[in-house]
C-alpha cells in the first residue's frame, strides 16, 4: 500500500466522533473589535510598538516629498524602487528631483535599497501591514530592501485577523487567496544571540508607514 493510502486508512480507522463534534461560532478578543477613530488610534499605537515609522498625510501627492524627508532624516538617499501598483505610478515623482526612482523588481536590484509599495490592509489588532502578491506586487519587495515604505489609506485599516482574511480573499481574484499573504509587523529582527533584539535580521531594517486620509 502506498504511504498516502496507509496513513489515511489508519486515520479513518481511528476516527471517532464521526465529524459531529463540529465547532461553531467564532471568538474575537476585544482588541480585535475596535471601529472608527478608536481603531485608527489603536493601529497607530500598535504599529509604534512594532517599531514602525509612521507619517500621517492628508493627500497622496504628499507621499514622494515625505519619503525624501524621512530618508534625509536617516541620512541616506538610496534609489527608491517603486512597486507596480497603479496608485504609486501616478504620484508626482517630478516634485522630488533629489530622489531617484526605479521600477526594477529584480532580486539583485532590490537588494539593500529603499522601496515603496502599497498594501492590501493593515490590522489595528497588532499594527501589522498586509501585503499580497499579484501582477502589480512582487513579494520580494517586502524583504530584500533595507528600507520599506508602505502606502496605507485609512480606509484600509481593519480591526483584526478577520478583516485581514476578507481583504486577502478579495485580492485573490478567482482563487481563494493570492499566492503570498504577508502580514508584516515592523522591521525584521532577531533575538537569537544572547536574547538581545537586533533589528534588520534578513528583511528590512526600517518599515515606514505613509498613512493617507481617505
Amino acid at each position: 500500500m502506498d504511504a498516502r493510502d496507509e496513513i489515511l486508512g489508519k486515520l479513518a480507522r481511528k476516527k471517532h466522533g464521526g465529524g459531529a463534534t463540529g465547532i461553531s461560532g467564532h471568538m474575537k478578543p476585544a482588541v480585535a473589535m475596535k471601529t472608527g477613530e478608536e481603531m485608527v488610534a489603536q493601529f497607530r499605537e500598535k504599529a509604534a510598538k512594532l517599531s514602525c515609522g509612521l507619517s500621517e498625510l492628508s493627500r497622496m501627492s504628499e507621499v514622494p516629498g515625505e519619503i525624501e524627508r524621512v530618508l534625509g532624516e536617516i541620512g541616506t538617499m538610496p534609489v527608491l524602487h517603486v512597486s507596480d501598483e497603479p496608485e504609486l505610478a501616478s504620484l508626482p515623482w517630478e516634485d522630488v528631483p533629489g530622489l531617484r526612482t526605479s521600477r526594477e523588481m529584480d532580486r539583485d536590484a532590490l537588494d539593500g535599497v529603499a522601496a515603496l509599495s502599497a498594501c492590501a490592509a493593515a490590522s489595528a489588532e497588532t499594527g501589522a501591514l498586509v501585503l499580497t502578491s499579484d501582477a502589480d506586487h512582487a513579494t520580494a519587495i517586502g524583504y530584500l530592501p533595507d528600507f520599506h515604505f508602505v502606502l496605507l489609506r485609512k480606509s484600509q485599516i481593519v480591526s483584526g485577523f478577520e478583516g485581514i482574511w476578507a481583504a486577502a480573499r478579495t485580492n485573490g481574484g478567482n482563487r481563494d487567496l493570492p499566492r503570498a499573504v504577508n502580514i508584516i509587523g515592523g522591521p525584521s529582527r532577531t533575538g537569537d544571540i544572547e536574547a538581545t533584539m537586533v533589528m534588520g535580521a534578513h528583511g528590512p531594517r526600517s518599515v515606514h508607514i505613509l498613512l493617507v486620509d481617505g
Partner: protein
Amino acid sequence: MTPPNDQHAPEMHVTSERFSENARHALDDKVLQGGLFIFAKGFTALREIGISQVPEFGDMRDRARDVKNHVLENLGDYLKQFEERVIANGGRVHWARNASEANEIIGRLCAEVNAKTVVKSKSMVTEELELNPHLEKQGIEVFESDLGEYIIQLRKEKPFHIVGPALHLTKEQVSDTFYEAHQRYGRTEKVTEKEALVREARIVLRERFKQADVGITGANFLVAETGSIALVTNEGNADLSATLPKHHIAVTGIEKIVPTLEDLGLFLRLLPRSALGLDTANYLSLYTGPKRDSDPDGPETFDIVLVDNGRSDMLGSEFQDMLRCIRCGACLNGCPVFTSVGGQAYGSVYSGPMGAVWTPALAGITHAANLPNASTFCGKCEEVCPVRIPLPNLMRHWREREFEKHYTPTGQRWGMGAWRWIAGKPALYRLASSMGGRVLRAMARKGWVKKLPGFAGGWTEMRDLKAPEGGSFLEQYEKGRRS
C-alpha cells in the same frame, strides 16, 4: 505503540539515555547557566505581561483546545480537503510514513531539479527527520537561514530550544564560529558585537537565498479550506526561502492542520503571546500554491511533504492530546527542570515537557525513558500550555508504558511492588513505619542523617534528612495522643 519489525515505524535518533550525565555537565557550565536565567525569568515574565493584556486569553485557550480536538477527530478528512486545495492551486502533496520516506521524497524532489544548494528556514520536523545530513550525502549544500539554527548548524549541534535554538551560546562563541566559517566567503575580519554578527550573517545568507535552487520551510499551520501553509518568523527568512528559489518544499507533520482561516487567526493570537508575550510575530505569512502566471516573483513549484513519523500512532492513544502542540516553547520556559539543565541535556530535538512526551513516541520509550521520568510533575507546563495539553498526565502515561513493558529499573519496580503489598496490610504498614523511624533515629547524629545507603543515597548527595522525633503518628495516636 508500533509493532516490531514495522519497516515504516517512526524514526528519530536520540541520546536521551545520557540525560543524567548531560545534566551534570550542564549544571557545571557557568555560561549555560547564565543563558538559562533568560528563559526562567525573562521569557516567563514577558509571557505573563503579554497575556495579561488580553482578558479573553483563557477562553481562547479553551477554544484552541476544542478546535484541535475536532481536527484530530477528523484528521483524515481535513488532510484530504487540504490536499485537494493544494492541487487545485497548482501544488503537489507528498505523504511520508516515517523519516526515511520523507527524506527520500525530499531528496528526490531536489534531484529532479538538479539542486546544488538548498536554503532552509527553521523547521523542527526536518530536525526530527535529520534531513540535512541526508541531503548532504546527496551532494547538496544546505544552508539554515534562521540565525539561531544557522549558528548551531555551523557548530554541528542540536537545537537548544524549539524557539531559540542557539540561546545557550555567548556572542563570543558565535563570533568564533562565524570567524572560522565565513573565511570561505572572503570575510577575514573578526566581528564581535551582536549587531555586527547579525549583519555579517545577513550578508552571507543573503547570497545563499539568491543562489539557492530550492527553499525548504516547515509550516506552523496548514489551512484546509484554502490549501495554504502558514509560516511564523521574526527574521523574514521563511519568506525569502518561500519566494526567491525556483522551488519551494514545505515539510510538516500531519497534525498541523486547522480547518479555516478564522481558526488560523485564533492560533496566530495564541502562538506569539505564548512564546514571547508578543501581540504578533514580525512575519505571519500564508503561501498558497506556486507562482501564478501574472505574479512577478515566487517559486515555480510548490511541494508539501506531510510527515506521519509516529503521529498516527499517537492518535486514538492516551497520547493524542500531545498532537495539539503548536511548538510555542512556553512549557520549556516555565519548566524548572528545563531551566536548570537546558535543551541539550535531553538528547533530543524536542526538549522540555513537550519533548518528554514527543521523544518517546518517536524514538521509543526504551531510549527515552529518562525524559518523562525527569519531571517533578509540578504542573507549570500544563498551566502555561496555550492548547491545554495535560503534559504531566502524558508523562505519567509514558511511565505506565515503561512499567507495563518491564523497562522500569528493577529496584524501583520491586520497591513499588513491595510498597503496594505493605500498604495493603495495615498492621505491617504500622510496624514498618515505626521501624523506619527508629532506624533513621539510630543513623542520625544530633537528629540529622548525613548519609543514606543505596538508592536513597541520591537524597543525601544534596541534603541532610531530619530524623523523626518520637514514634510514628499512628503509634502515638494509638496510645491516646490527640493533640
